[in-house]
C-alpha cells in the first residue's frame, strides 16, 4: 500500500513523497515505515510510543481515530495512508504577540501604553497601520510628524515639490537649510529624527489619475494635505474606489475645515461639494495667503482623526464638517449627510474610474504653462515681454493683483485689481495691446478672458505671473 509523506517529513523518508509498504493493518504499515526510516519515528511518536497529538493519520478519507478498530483497522494494497500534521494557530487575545513591541518601543510609547484606550493592543495597531499623506506641506508637516511620533508603522508621502523659503513660516518639518531640497528628503530626515522605527515610503511624483489607485492600494488610511481642487477630488474619488477613509482638511487665510470622508457609513467630499468652484474663484494659499499656524492646527486635527480610526476609539469626524475660525477662535460643526445620489459614493455611482480632474475643475491641462494659447488668450512668456519692452514696443502692462501685493513687488504695471475690473473697464484702451499679469497667472487669465469677452482683441496673459518674471527675468523682484 501507499503512504503519503507530508513535505516536512520527507527529509526523513529518503526525500520521497510516497513510500510503498506492506502490512495488513494500519499499525503494521506504520511500523514498516518507521523500520525502514527510523528517523521518522521521533517525528511521529512521543517518547511513550503514542502517535503525537498533532499527527493525523488518514486511511483514504477517514481519520483512523474514528475507525472502529482504530490503528488495527485492516488495510488493502489499494488503500493509501496519509500522514497529515495539523494546521492550526491563531492570534490569541490572552497572549502578547511574540516580538511585537521592543523594549525601546515600550519606553517610547509608555504614555500611550498606560492609556486604556490605546494600551499595548492599540500601540500594536498603530505599528501595523499604513497611512498615506498626500503632500508634505503645511498640513502634511504636523500630520506626518505626529503620526511618526505616535508610532504609526508605515508612513507613505506623496510630494514632488522642493522646499522654498516661503514654505518655512508654516511647514515646520522643513528647516532653513532645507531650502532647495526635495520636500520628501527633507521630511524623511525630520521624521527619522523623531522616530527611526517608522517605515517611510516616498512617492516623488504628482498624484494623478494614472497612479493614484496603485499608490493607495497599500495603505489603510489616506490623509489629504493637498492645496488644490483637482487633487482634492482625485484623492476623494480614489479613496471611494479603493474603500479607504479620506481624512480631509483644508485651509484658507485664517479659516479651516476638517472631516473624515469616504467611509462606508458616511459621506464623501463629493456629497458635500458635487462640483468644484469655477477656477480662480477660491484663491490658493499662494494667492490668498494663510496664517502660518493654521495648517498646524488643522494638520493635527487630521492626525488625531487618523489615530482614532486606527485605534477604533472615540467618535470620528464622519458625517460632520468641523469649521475652524482662528481669528474668532471658534470651532463650529455642520452635519453632513451621505448623498444617495452622489456620483462617487451614491447608490448608482457614475464615477467608476478616475477621470481628468484638471478638466473637471475647469483648468487648462498641465502643459498650459508653455501652451501658446489658453481658452483663446495668447500666453506671453516673461522673456518675450522683457524683450518687447526693451525694444520700446507699445505694450500696456495691466496688474490685476491687490494693492497690498503691489506694495510688496511690482514690475511697472498699471494696478487694477481683478474685482474692480468690471466697473473700471472703461479706463482701458481696447485699441492697445495689453499684457495682463497677476502673481502666478491664474487671476490674470480670468481678467484676460473677461476683457476678451468685452471686445478687447489684443490681450495677452503673462504666463506664470510676476513669480515667473522674478524667476526668469529679474530676480531682484521679490517672490512672495
Amino acid at each position: 500500500m501507499q503512504i503519503h509523506i507530508p513535505t516536512p517529513l520527507r527529509a526523513y523518508a529518503g526525500k520521497q513523497s510516497i513510500v510503498q509498504v506492506s502490512g495488513s493493518t494500519v499499525a503494521q504499515a506504520l511500523t514498516a515505515l518507521t523500520e525502514r526510516y527510523p528517523e521518522l519515528r521521533r517525528h511521529l511518536y512521543s517518547d511513550q510510543g503514542k502517535l503525537r497529538a498533532f499527527v493525523n493519520v488518514y486511511l483514504n478519507d477517514e481519520d483512523i481515530r474514528y475507525l472502529d478498530q482504530k490503528e488495527n483497522a485492516p488495510v488493502k494494497d489499494s488503500d493509501s495512508l496519509s500522514i497529515i500534521p495539523s494546521i492550526a494557530g491563531g492570534s490569541s487575545v490572552a497572549e502578547a504577540p511574540a516580538a511585537a513591541l521592543t523594549p525601546e518601543e515600550m519606553g517610547r510609547y509608555s504614555r500611550h501604553l498606560i492609556l486604556p484606550e490605546v494600551g499595548e493592543a492599540g500601540q500594536l495597531k498603530l505599528k501595523a497601520a499604513r497611512v498615506l499623506c498626500v503632500g508634505a506641506g503645511g498640513l502634511g508637516a504636523p500630520l506626518t510628524m505626529y503620526l511618526a511620533a505616535a508610532g504609526v508603522g508605515t508612513l507613505g508621502i506623496v510630494d514632488f515639490d522642493v522646499v522654498e523659503a516661503s514654505n518655512l513660516h508654516r511647514q515646520v518639518i522643513h528647516g532653513t537649510t532645507d531650502v532647495g531640497r526635495a520636500k520628501l528628503d527633507s521630511a524623511e530626515d525630520s521624521l527619522r529624527a523623531i522616530n527611526p522605527n517608522v517605515k517611510i515610503v516616498k512617492f516623488p511624483t504628482r498624484l494623478s489619475s494614472e497612479n493614484a489607485l496603485g499608490i493607495f492600494k497599500d495603505f489603510d488610511v489616506v490623509a489629504d494635505g493637498t492645496d488644490n481642487f483637482p487633487t482634492r477630488y482625485l484623492v476623494n474619488d480614489a479613496c471611494v474606489l479603493s474603500g479607504i477613509p479620506n481624512v480631509y482638511a483644508s485651509i484658507f487665510r485664517f479659516e479651516g475645515q476638517a472631516s473624515v470622508f469616504a467611509t462606508e457609513a458616511g459621506p464623501c467630499y463629493r456629497c458635500l461639494y458635487p462640483e468644484p468652484p469655477p477656477p480662480g474663484l477660491v484663491p490658493s494659499c499662494a494667492e490668498g495667503g494663510v496664517l502660518g499656524i493654521l495648517p498646524g492646527l488643522l494638520g493635527i486635527i487630521q492626525a488625531t482623526e487618523v489615530i482614532k480610526l486606527i485605534l477604533g476609539q472615540g467618535e470620528p469626524l464622519v458625517g460632520r464638517l468641523l469649521l475652524v475660525d482662528t481669528l474668532a477662535m471658534r470651532f463650529r460643526e455642520l452635519k453632513l449627510r451621505k448623498n444617495l445620489g452622489c456620483p462617487a459614493c451614491g447608490t448608482q455611482p457614475t464615477v467608476t474610474r478616475l477621470i481628468d480632474y484638471d478638466q473637471f475643475c475647469g483648468l487648462p491641462p498641465k502643459s498650459a504653462e508653455s501652451a501658446p494659447v489658453v481658452n483663446g488668450i495668447a500666453q506671453m512668456q516673461p522673456a518675450e515681454l522683457k524683450r518687447r519692452l526693451d525694444a520700446g514696443e507699445d505694450l500696456y502692462v495691466l496688474d490685476v493683483r491687490e494693492p497690498y501685493e503691489f506694495a510688496i513687488a511690482q514690475i511697472g504695471g498699471h494696478l487694477l485689481p481683478l474685482n474692480d475690473l468690471p466697473q473700471r473697464t472703461a479706463e482701458l484702451d481696447s485699441s492697445r495691446e495689453i499684457v495682463v499679469h497677476c502673481k502666478s497667472g491664474g487671476r490674470s487669465q480670468r481678467a484676460a478672458e473677461f476683457l476678451a469677452q468685452n471686445g478687447f482683441k489684443r490681450i495677452h496673459n503673462l504666463a506664470g505671473g510676476i513669480t515667473a518674471w522674478s524667476e526668469k527675468v529679474d530676480p531682484s523682484v521679490p517672490k512672495y
Binding site: S17, D63, I87, P97, A98, T154, E188, E264, L309
Partner: protein, 163 residues
C-alpha cells in the same frame, strides 16, 4: 542540515488573494494552503488554496484546517505535481506577527507560515488587510522548531520607490 528556503516567492495575484481572503472572513481568521515547489533558496508558491476554518468556537482568534480537507487539497495538489509549501492565516485586529499559539501548533517544518493582519472597520465600516509577513518553520524537530521571518518576494509589475 538541509538548505533553508530564505524566501517565499509568489505572484502578485496570490499575494492579493491571500489578503483579500482575510478581509472577507473578518472578524474571523481565514486560512488556506500554499501549493508549489520547495526550491533550495525559496518556497515557490504556484497556488493559494482557500480552506475552511473549523474553529467555529473561537474563529476570531483561532484557526484550524480540517485534516480531511488537507488530505483532499494534498491529493489534488499531487495530481498537478505540486507540494504543500506553506499555509496562511489572518490575524483580525492583531499584528502580522506569530503568536505563541502559532508556534506551538505549527508542525510543518520547512514550510512557510504567512500571516496577514486585518484591521477592523470600527467606525469606518470597512476592514483592510494590513501588513503581511511570512515565517519559516525552521529547526529539525518539535523540540527545536522556531518561526523565522522570511522575505516575501512578490513578482510585481511595477516597483515603487521605497526607502
Amino acid at each position: 542540515m538541509t538548505s533553508i528556503p530564505a524566501a517565499l516567492r509568489m505572484e502578485q495575484a496570490q499575494y492579493d488573494a491571500i489578503r483579500k481572503h482575510g478581509e472577507e472572513t473578518y472578524p474571523y481568521e481565514c486560512c488556506g494552503v500554499l501549493l508549489g515547489h520547495s526550491e533550495p533558496d525559496a518556497n515557490l508558491v504556484v497556488d493559494a488554496v482557500r480552506a475552511g476554518n473549523v474553529r467555529t468556537d473561537s474563529a476570531h482568534n483561532r484557526y484550524q484546517i480540517a485534516p480531511q480537507e488537507l488530505v483532499r487539497i494534498q491529493r489534488e495538489a499531487r495530481q498537478q505535481g505540486l507540494d504543500i509549501v506553506g499555509f496562511y492565516h489572518s490575524h483580525p485586529d492583531h499584528p502580522a506577527q506569530w503568536s505563541r499559539t502559532d508556534l506551538a501548533e505549527a508542525h510543518w517544518l520547512g514550510c512557510s507560515y504567512v500571516i496577514t493582519s486585518v484591521l477592523g472597520p470600527q467606525s469606518t465600516g470597512r476592514c483592510r488587510a494590513a501588513e503581511t509577513n511570512a515565517f519559516l518553520l525552521a529547526g529539525s524537530s518539535e523540540e527545536d522548531k522556531r518561526l523565522e521571518k522570511q522575505a516575501i518576494e512578490v513578482q510585481s509589475a511595477e516597483p515603487v520607490a521605497v526607502s
